[in-house]
Amino acid sequence: MSLLDAHIVKTRSAFTVDVRLRLRAGERLGLFGASGAGKSTVMSCLAGIETPDAGRISLGELGLFPPSLPLHRRPIAYLTQSDWLFPHLSVADNVCFGLHNGERDGATKWIGELAARLDLRRLWHQPVTHISGGQARRVALARMLARRPPLVLIDEPFAALDRATTNELIAALQEWHVALGFTLIAVDHRPEILEKFCTRAAVIESGQIVQEGSWSSVAAAPATPLLARLLAS
């Protein structure tokens, strides 16, 4: 039984993105491809930032498209390359932004765990304008997970981070995946990053999925010359 069942058709200037994705609850998919292959378009259509031209997207019993479900009704967490923290709020208020008043009390223990694991406690009451880039990334990650969403989308979230911070955040994501059981789609153009926390790979080229399977099967027999070059580089 799929949690996410998506067929996304979206016309771009160079090509049409036409992608079908099916993920079971708790599955972790790495969407891999060269820059400009259509990965972010797929993510943005799933999140609801962009509306597909055609297709169908459902998350469990919830229809996301068509018609396009408003963003605030989608139980989806979306982390992009930029942190987009709310600059007028503290670290604490950013992390708890998605929790409504009633939920805040019930989530206190969970939020405390998030803050401790991501080393945010000493920053907790600071304005986000006073923290570093790496700390901002942790806050964005904590804010995304605070609502304990069933579907998590992350689009090249480690692009600007050093290797140590990247590994640390990947380890944290893996722990919370075990604890929360969310379904994850991650996008990156570096397979070695995706391989660390995604069990399944889907390779996208010019808006089409050209290969799907385990990382070892994709690496052993790349379906296209471009994919072979990307894996070799």
Binding site: A47, G48, I49, P70, L71, H72, R74, I76, A77, Y78, S82, W84, F86, P87, H88, F97, G98, H100, T129, R143, R147
Partner: protein, 246 residues
């Protein structure tokens, strides 16, 4: 720079000019006090209307595509660029009792000439364009990505405005409001045509000048400056302070 500022502020010395003993009233006792009250009260009403009508329009303009924005802003700009006297005459003609709309409004008890409604409506017409254009700039400075993230975190459009857009744009919105305040409070050309009665401060200053000369102008002029200038001046200082601390 100092020389320029001195030249710029030189007219303020006019307040110390020897014009004879100042007198609060002109020819009609009580008219100056009621002009102050009329100006403050109706300008406040006009600003409430500016905010209620203008903010959604400004938000729409701030978030619309380039082509849409150019077209609609050009329309809003007409009201900003209109010479006040021309606007007053046009308002009188368009809402006057000779038109179907004016006649109907008069029938339901809303006189559109020389009335409180005419006064406040004229102030709205002269100020709302300024408010919208300045508010649009303030709202456009809030990255739409922040609003999208807030929505994805479960906030409805109204909550997004209350929790993200407004706090980030509030100083710019206050500046927009202060521009509208000065514009509405200081309006003479349009108001003198549509609402000679009830007189506001600008019209009363002119009436006092005609009836009693400069001594009857000076006290009201001081009140006029004290009610018009501090709000935008303070907001400008606050904005500068925020720019320095940001």
């Amino acid at each position: 720079m100092l020389a320029f500022v001195l030249v710029l502020l030189y007219p303020l010395l006019g307040l110390s000019a020897r014009v004879g003993p100042w007198q609060w009233n002109g020819a009609i006792p009580g008219s100056t006090s009621s002009a102050v009250w009329n100006s403050l009260f109706f300008t406040a009403i006009a600003l409430v209307i500016d905010v209620l009508l203008g903010t959604p329009v400004a938000l729409y303009l701030a978030r619309s595509g380039t082509r849409d924005r150019i077209v609609w802003e050009a329309a809003v700009l007409v009201s900003v660029l209109m010479p006040p006297l021309a606007l007053g005459i046009l308002l009188s003609l368009a809402f006057g009792p000779a038109t179907a709309l004016g006649a109907w409004l008069l029938r339901i008890g809303v006189p559109t000439s020389n009335s409180s409604v005419a006064f406040a409506a004229t102030q709205v017409y002269v100020s709302i364009g300024y408010y919208i254009l300045a508010a649009r700039a303030a709202l456009a400075a809030v990255p739409p990505e922040l609003e999208r993230i807030a929505a994805l975190l479960g906030s409805s459009p109204l909550q997004v405005f209350r929790r993200v857009t407004f706090p980030l744009a509030k100083l710019g919105l206050a500046a927009a409001l202060s521009i509208a305040w000065v514009r509405a409070l200081g309006e003479f050309g349009a108001v003198v045509v549509t609402a000679y009665y009830p007189s506001g401060m600008p019209v009363q200053i002119w009436v006092n000048l005609q009836d009693a000369g400069m001594p009857a102008v000076m006290p009201l002029l001081v009140v006029f400056l004290l009610t018009a200038l501090p709000l935008p001046w303070l907001i400008h200082l606050l904005a500068q302070k925020r720019n320095v601390t940001a």
